[in-house]
Symmetry: D2
Amino acid sequence: MIFEFPIRIYYEDTDAAGVVFYANYLKFFERARTEWLRSAGISQEQVARELGIVFVVAHTALDYLLPARLDDRITVRSRVVRLGHVSVDFSQEAWRTCEAIEAGAGELLARGRIKVGCVSRATLRPEKIPPQIRGAFPS
Amino acid sequence: MIFEFPIRIYYEDTDAAGVVFYANYLKFFERARTEWLRSAGISQEQVARELGIVFVVAHTALDYLLPARLDDRITVRSRVVRLGHVSVDFSQEAWRTCEAIEAGAGELLARGRIKVGCVSRATLRPEKIPPQIRGAFPS
Amino acid sequence: MIFEFPIRIYYEDTDAAGVVFYANYLKFFERARTEWLRSAGISQEQVARELGIVFVVAHTALDYLLPARLDDRITVRSRVVRLGHVSVDFSQEAWRTCEAIEAGAGELLARGRIKVGCVSRATLRPEKIPPQIRGAFPS
Amino acid sequence: MIFEFPIRIYYEDTDAAGVVFYANYLKFFERARTEWLRSAGISQEQVARELGIVFVVAHTALDYLLPARLDDRITVRSRVVRLGHVSVDFSQEAWRTCEAIEAGAGELLARGRIKVGCVSRATLRPEKIPPQIRGAFPS
């Protein structure tokens, strides 16, 4: 299963090289993971408050292939590659959406692997991922 | 005429006080102005390339009234309060969107006045606002 | 009394117009206010923890006069223009530091007025500014 | 050879979890690489203007080990692990600087590998790293 989320590029996302500042792909990927959870009816803020659990990013590995530019429309494609007891590994890609051409003919701008750990909000120690969140990521 | 644009609050927008970092309202307001232009068929990137004109923010004055929080849905309401020859003054507000209650019953989080100047991309000197852009902001 | 604080411009601070993204002056001004407090031996983190008091920015009004660019050295000059019971008004300026020319011959890039309120961390209600913090801002 | 660069954590760097937002380590690492070049008398802005060459980040792989917090002092330790014809691989670490204890007794917060490519500013095609920049990174 692949979750798709659209992003628009604004001035705030770019740098003096005229392209999207590479660190911002981490923001785009996080927005996509958040909306994936939300699409399954899960709010991170609520999970933190009610279950005392927060998600922390433990590892990120990204390749930056082509530059995104001001006003570009990006589609972030996310999928779960490993659903462990206390962590989830996501594979995520940012594609430039080309409205003029057929679907699937976009350009891959960046891709990466993100490991997110489930921890206690109080102690920051690893915690088992709650069942309702496991259910949001069908394998 | 009022242009409304929705924003979602992510971790990237917040700070250690648990609320949206105040400087980010400037980003939200800019996204809203950009989408207003886009809704009139105008791309800033295209205007820069074809007419050699860019818009620069010359003045901002904001009041921060109530904190926005993670996962909040914000509506930015924008209107033009003065359309000059070489600059536009916007009045912009950020409202928390409360889904549980009736429309109009949200909370005003921040409001401000933004002056945007029209300048030559090459010289950064003031330029007259092109007619097609004037047309996007009916008074 | 004027407090001066140096800032260096990195890619992260710029946007696709090739200059510093205007919202970032709010960050630069906050760094300067923080270091002013620190130079008086005051840590905001410690004040929050020990006195239950945090500072929130209530109002900002900035003029953006000239663009700062990648690798520029900026000096932020800050002074207190009003020290109230529950809030402080700062006047802050960002100057480009020109190493080749004499002191004082820099360029004023941005200037503004920032109102910071003192509030209870728990209730976010206004609180009197503690004496040790008042002492950090001699008038 | 290891280049050390100090960073201070401000509100702008943190998120609602009360810690430094992980994407910001990429900013800290870039500041450190920039200052390393500058310490060798090299300005990226000047290199771009005079040699038509810019550096683009092609790959980043980071582990986030411990959270940094508001007011923390960080030391970024950088070294070159591979100096190729058209790219450089850096190993970079962020350590919390503990003033109260002896040198070397800090905590490792994040570490990673960053690959930076040298490209033509005009074509974005790979270019050989100029000798004066190679000289800045002794192996």
